[in-house]
């Protein structure tokens, strides 16, 4: 397979995690501009584990993901008592705070005569696990998609469970959910923790694929994109954000001929989509229609 195609597909897979993370919060009715923070925390934490502490990839990824999820819960406890726009601003402020912390975060150790580790604004180089262990680009892409399939399975199970119904209920009407005896804040904190975990998986994978992370990568643009994926692809199913990612990265790749104007064309496409499909391509109505058709076919 062509190296460039493998790179593009790997990017689509990796970014799908942060898109799913933002989607989970959209389901519970919260708009987060800060999912890139958890992506970044896991990228650094898992990179430190494998490149500096010599951990294996899977424990390193699990560690990064756990740290991201814990950070999300810690952020959720004070911020989820505020709602709507205030919550969105709070998540944005947190993400910027995380980025600025990484701008000054220096922690390096000497490995084989080279200094390895986060070096403030210069970033964190040499997260070389996949090169040291001779994992090819195709193998790593398959690992990304294997994990993505597992996360998607978890999403589908969640959406058919009582917890998923509670999340949707809170997203539709939190006051009504509270009147039904549901602890809205507790469930939102749980959703934020799970969203941090999902973003964390993507962050760990990203760091090991690129071998290099720096604070600038995790700026607000990544957060806005992650939110846009759900809004473009649709909020009716977990496939929605994935469609959003495929449209974003796929569309940008397909119009390389107009290189300098690609983002303008993309912005226009997003605007048109949101005018005609305000809840995305695969919104709840579209998903229900597809389910009905499938049931009729099987009946």
């Amino acid at each position: 397979m062509d190296d460039h195609l493998v790179g593009v597909l790997s990017n689509i897979g990796m970014i799908s995690f942060i898109a799913l993370s933002a989607y989970l919060l959209l389901i519970v009715g919260e708009i987060s501009f800060g999912q890139q923070a958890f992506f970044a925390i896991s990228a650094y934490a898992s990179g430190i584990a494998t490149a500096m502490w010599g951990w294996d990839f899977w424990p390193g990824l699990a560690w990064g993901t756990a740290v991201a999820a814990a950070a999300a819960v810690l952020v959720g406890i004070p911020t989820l008592r505020i709602r709507g726009l205030y919550f969105s601003i709070a998540t944005l402020a947190f993400a910027e705070m995380v980025r600025l912390v990484f701008e000054v975060f220096k922690y390096q150790v000497e490995i084989d005569g080279e200094m390895v580790g986060p070096d403030g604004s210069d970033g964190f180089r040499d997260i070389r696990y996949i090169f040291e262990n001779d994992i090819t680009a195709v193998e790593y892409m398959l690992m990304i998609y294997g994990l993505l399939a597992a996360v998607l399975c978890a999403f589908f199970l969640l959406e058919r469970s009582r917890l998923g119904s509670i999340f949707r209920m809170i997203g539709q009407d939190p006051v009504l959910a509270e009147m039904q005896g549901i602890d809205v804040t507790a469930y939102k904190i749980l959703a934020l923790g799970l969203a941090g975990l999902v973003a964390g998986i993507g962050g760990g994978l990203y760091a090991h694929l690129t071998t290099f992370v720096e604070p600038k990568i995790f700026n607000v643009m990544l957060g806005v994109h992650s939110l846009a994926y759900g809004l473009i692809g649709g909020l009716g199913t977990a496939f929605g954000p994935l469609i959003g990612v495929a449209i974003d990265i796929g569309f940008l790749e397909s119009i390389r001929a107009i290189s300098g104007y690609r983002m303008i064309a993309f912005g226009g496409l997003v605007a048109v989509l949101l005018i005609f499909r305000p809840r995305g391509l695969l919104d709840e109505a579209a998903v229900n229609w597809i389910r009905l058709r499938l049931r009729r076919r099987h009946a």
Binding site: D122, R128, F131, D134, L147, C153, K216, D248, S259, R262
Partner: protein, 142 residues
């Protein structure tokens, strides 16, 4: 529900992977990029060598790509395969940027060793020098 959960478990368990350590010497590079005749097009000369031995790395397949760290995934350069240059370890590649600013040049080395080197270079319309705060030798000649 149970069958779906089982299918998910099976899928997750197939993901586990164990790697085989590679022993080849790591690479390092010196990069010099010069503006070409066309706007935003740069000719890059890349000197590849062994990180410890300093010996020129010949016969490598070098693929050069670039990403703009401040705009992740939005602005990147389609990777190009570098051609061997005039002397041992020297490779040249032409890259076309989308805009000026700081770019992270991604050098994927295959052949005698497999490595990925990242070099941050500031490509400016008026600036004649570049920076890589990691201490690598990178230049953008005017």
């Amino acid at each position: 529900m149970v069958s779906r959960a089982f299918a998910c478990l099976v899928l997750a368990s197939t993901i586990a992977w164990t790697g085989v350590p590679a022993a080849a010497e790591r690479a390092k590079a010196q990069v010099v990029c010069t503006p070409a005749d066309r706007k935003l097009v740069y000719e890059c000369e890349i000197m590849l060598m062994g990180r410890k031995s300093g010996a020129p790395l010949e016969g490598a397949k070098l693929v050069v790509g670039a990403d703009m760290p401040s705009m992740p995934l939005a602005h990147n350069v389609k990777p190009v395969t570098a051609s061997p240059g005039g002397k041992p370890g020297m490779y040249t590649a032409t890259i076309e940027l989308e805009m000026h600013g700081e770019w992270a040049l991604r050098l994927d080395v295959a052949g005698p060793t497999r490595d990925r080197l990242i070099h941050k270079i500031h490509f400016g319309a008026s600036k004649g020098s570049s920076t890589d705060q990691g201490g690598r030798t990178n230049q953008m000649k005017k």
